[in-house]
Amino acid sequence: MLYLIVFTIIYLAITIYLSYLGYKKTTTVSDYLLAGRQVHPVTMSLSYGSTYISTSAIIGFGGVSALYGFSMSWLAFLNILVGVWIAFVVFGKRTRKMGKALDAHTFPELLGRRYNSRFIQGFSGFVILFFMPVYTAAILIGISRFIEVYLRVPFATALLVFLLINACYVIWGGLKGVLYTSAFQGIIMIVVMIIIGITTYFYAGGLIEGHRELTSMTSYIPQELLSAGHNGFTSFPLAGSPIWWFVITTMILGVGIGVLGQPQLNVRFMTLKSDRELNRSIPFTAIYILFTTGIAFTVGVLTNVIFYKNIGMLSIEAVFGNVDKIIPMYIDRFYPQWFVAIFLVTLMSAAMSANSAQFLAMGASLSRDIFEQALLKGKSLAETTIVTRIGIVFSIFATLILGLLMPEGIVAVATAFFFGLCGATFIPAYLFGLYWKRGSKTAAKASILCGFFSSLIWMLFFHENESRAIGICRFFFGSDTLAGHPFNMIDPQVIALPLSFIVFIVVSYLTRPVSQEVLRKAFRHI
């Protein structure tokens, strides 16, 4: 406990000091929103990485890996290939140039100005403001579960206190504060995760031996998982089985592809001065993701060997089915107290950096996207920073309520929900906006609406995970889902993303392209 208090105080002191530095340097609106567009590549890498890889990745997806095994390593691979290389090279470079040419300050503003549409900006802002709290809450639940396990405090207290601390430095620091603290948090995270990775393999008997041990444990897997398609921790689930659809479409594709439509990540590209900084950020970000996600997923699976050796149970049995508690319990039982304290600090840092970027994205959505563009029809608002702060306060409350209401073991699922929703809603309009001059304003609107509403409809009436929890389908049709296997297991993004791509292309050919003047401006540096 003493270690915990000492490390937490040191950590909080450094974070508050860095936020204060950010606050002191925050003098203008663009400083507040975009850190003045001059951010060092290493800072950019670490802050992008720590915004991307949060508590959700370590606790939520680490726990899910413990349940479904090494097939989750495909998500780690996609996190690097899609989430870093494709995001930076294919999307990032043009986002930076176009963002500058259009003087965009937020992701919806980029889309709105590219297509010369206030509706697109306002609606995108609406999606962010009202749906991002699900993801923010998932991250918050992750860290609060950890605090609940280690400090033996009620879950609700942990959630409330942590949210308060986080709120303070976001409201006072802006993105600049967030960027500085994210870089600091990123460094702690890498070091701690490397130590956990090495020691876990050591406890499990080594690299190859650990994997073999896992293979030999297939018979211990609960019968209901085996009959749903679980094939052991070192094999892919049975093709076409419910678990296979869940792992592939929701966990691997939902998050692996959906990352490209994440507003709080895309806005980071605009903070760089030139493509050179972007190129230089790529290796650092990739290393960061490898050492965090890659290690978290691997450690998650290997906890089965260690739990079984020590207490004769698989990880999922040791936590009574709550996957979000697997990683916290593993660290609590098998690491010295001083290390547990450092791990708590690391997780707090991960949660804080991710949540901060999200609160800021939500605040900016309210002020610039919804208020200035959609409601005031483009009239500039004098109190932008104040409205941004109101947006942040709203998002903090929404996060708090969702955090208290959402069920156990929800972290990875809620993350996948938000990533999938953003992916289906934004990716086609975003990608074509950067590359295809023929894409029309109507097509962008249609594609965004199609992606959003088809995702929602699929969730409410077809995808059993959500439709059963929400209950609207049962209310109207007397059944949890309108579709049989496998459709009830296919993630909404897998249906909605191709649909919104098709809609964009078809409608573009049927309607007038965006005016030459707008195109010239948007593609000025490309």
């Binding site: 003098t27 203008t28 609106v29 663009s30 095994g69 090494f70 097939s71 390593s73 495909w74 780690a76 691979f77 690097i80 290939l81 870093v84 290389w85 090279v89 470079k93 500058k100 040419a101 003087d103 690299l207 190859i208 031996e209 650990g210 994997h211 073999r212 896992l214 293979t215 094939n231 052991g232 070192t234 094999s235 892919f236 030139s274 493509d275 050179r276 900084e277 972007l278 190129n279 230089r280 950020s281 790529i282 290796p283 650092f284 970000t285 990739a286 290393i287 993701i289 490898l290 890659g294 500039s380 004098a382 109190e383 932008t384 920073t385 104040i386 000025r524 540096h525």
Partner: protein, 60 residues
Amino acid sequence: MLGFPDIWVFLGYILTPVSTLFCLIYGFFNWRKGVEEKDGDYREEIRWEREEIELIEKLP
């Protein structure tokens, strides 16, 4: 295959560090590239700064 009986799991496990290596190589070969800006950029910076000043003046 590093103790994995399934080729797909082995591939996912291996591709993760391989993709990192690819990013490292990409970063290494493009370390100095991408610094040149087009002619219009300078004028744009001025315009951007002007707009910026207007925004500051509107602040309370």
